[in-house]
Subunit: 278 residues, 3 copies
């Protein structure tokens, strides 16, 4: 996998999404559910959100990929989440796990443990969440309790690198660690993507939106390419939006605008570096 | 019903809403619940959203009309939805049904079947949803499984005309089929309204917002006038908003702004044609 | 407590929030949950929303303060709300109660009655809600059924003064009555704060956002100062936003922008008057 191939694959992934309007269903938190849907639509995909077990199963089978975000869990998820991941496994459909709020509440912990065997195709978190998930799954690089505070420096993303790699090696998919520099790994290479905006941390849901976008691209490319494409799309759109605004609410509007306007070539041209994992 | 009378009635409906700030309660999905509320407020109405059975009953009785949207169903709706439509019937209060996601999940199907006997005052859907609902209710023009994909052409709205008419004849109310050209029928005449913006399909919740607005106007006019007024308000506001923007997130902001600013005369002057159903 | 001290305390409260990024957890309605989170982040705080009982307990202990808003109640709240207020009491952590929709549904009434003994640190409502809560708690100034309609005039806020004072005397905390002029009392003095914008009443969630902001400031100051700081922040930001826009959707964006940009000195300089309660 050299940079040239990656750029070509990313260009094609974005094109395919814009051409085919693929559906990526979501089970996601109510705080940012609207932003996730609008983000997915802005990329060229289409969105559908559900709570009930048979609806989760339906979307798992009908959608090109599914986004599962662990925020604002509801009681019915005791049925919905296990049945949805089982349906994803049966249908061999890819999915994105966003382990937001990992460590809060017994049910979230139980579900995240369960998901280990269902091997989410893409895992997306900040440094703290990725380290905590690796810890929960007893993989290298993880700790029982994450010591990382915030995700604002490259350094902190680096601290999660070992956890990200071991998670990707376990799932056979890709892992995104979001931060000032974003890290994407498939367990054998690590890409670092730059750009974005500090304003993405000054609105709620920047991370959820990234997970939702990754699910859309995952309908149309490999896990690593989908993950890097989502990160690149956010970095180019975030950077462009920041140039137009001086405060977070306007940023959110401009960010979605720029995401909608970004061409396949714009997204694939966002700067990144690729290295081996060692 | 000639055009002149319709225009006069629409003008009065908008005026009455702006003067009296009527409350239209909603049971609606969590993806677009904020947009529905802000849309209802922008028209001049007031919004209230609930999940619990006795609260649904309360709003049914206390509100001028109720909006029931079938997205993101919750387990408690097994009690809330039947009790709310029963309360609406008892109180002889009008309501708007939005059969979004029809065909996904058993509970949604069961509820939509149940609603047949409760005769929603306005039914609002895209071509696909309207055809599917007519099919579920075994009315003319419906099919068990809708073949329509998307709602982007006049043609597709036309394909739903027979279903819309038979639904309106069954309920004695009105039906909206949203699309590039919107169709409104009371079962005896069909109005076609133009305008709007392609950006309404590039944000989540354009359709839900239309249903919520229809419920507000339904507090203050007949089903057909309320339905056509909501469609006209969206068409004029959508068109004005589109002139100011080049991307969907800014469009959403400007659309709500224009909806708020549109006068009764602006809304009633939006182009439409009326024909008999045959 | 003279004006000079209050201004100094407010300045420090805002500074502390901006410096320490305190977490204020919420159990809040799904209509405006995104706006509440973005408001809390704009003030400099951080947000977390939950539904489940052990997650409510977790946030009660882990957060600096908690915001409980009674909109869109869910069945699980029968466990979540009592356990969360118990955890708040055990941990001696402050919290904000927003009795929105008081009077609708039996469960809301039961919970609001229960909360009397848990003495919310700040109560925030419009005139109608404050009078109704004082009535429910059988305190002076309350009535079983509030006669106040709307909150658009100073006069109506004045009508809720006796209720606000008796609520604050009962809880030992502070009460906010929002309106054209906002009233804040700790039971011994009453502050009246002016500014804001009529557009805050033309979007959904202005009141919820104010409650969420009060919870953030409550992590870093006394109840009275936190309440007055939140009100002042909203009044200065609302006024500045209104100067830039002519419609409500743009207002919401600019309001959040201005809230983010307002300095501690800007907020503390917003006009207010303090009087004794008699």
């Amino acid at each position: 996998m050299n940079k040239e191939t990656i750029i070509k694959d990313m260009t094609e992934a974005v094109k395919k999404v814009k051409d085919t309007n693929p559906m990526a269903g979501s089970i996601t938190n109510s705080v940012t559910i609207n932003l996730v849907a609008n983000t997915q639509i802005a990329t060229g995909g289409s969105a559908a959100m559900v709570y009930l077990p048979d609806e989760g199963e339906f979307l798992a089978k009908a959608g090109g990929a599914t986004y599962i975000n662990m925020g604002t869990l509801l009681p019915i998820y005791e049925e919905t989440l296990p049945r949805t991941v089982e349906a994803l496994k049966d249908a061999q459909k890819p999915w994105v796990l966003d382990p937001v709020a990992i460590g809060i509440g017994q049910f979230r912990t139980d579900m995240l443990k369960l998901f280990k065997d269902y091997k989410p195709t893409i895992i997306k978190g900040n440094a703290s969440e990725v380290i905590a998930l690796a810890g929960l799954w007893e993989l290298e690089g993880g700790t029982g309790e994450s010591q990382v505070r915030g995700v604002d420096s490259t350094n902190q993303v680096d601290e999660a690198k070992a956890a990200a790699v071991s998670l990707a090696q376990w799932t056979g998919g890709a892992v995104i660690v979001s931060g000032a520099t974003d890290l994407v790994t498939d367990g054998s290479v690590v890409a670092e993507s730059t750009g974005g905006s500090h304003f993405l941390g000054k609105i709620t849901g920047g991370g959820c939106a990234l997970g939702g976008a990754a699910a859309v691209y995952l309908t149309s490319s490999s896990p690593f390419i989908a993950a890097l494409t989502a990160v690149s799309a956010f970095n180019v759109s975030g950077q462009r939006a920041e140039e137009k605004v001086d405060a977070p609410a306007s940023f959110q509007t401009e960010f979605l605008n720029e995401l909608y306007k970004a061409s396949p070539e714009d997204i694939a041209a966002n700067p990144f570096e690729v290295k081996g994992v060692n």
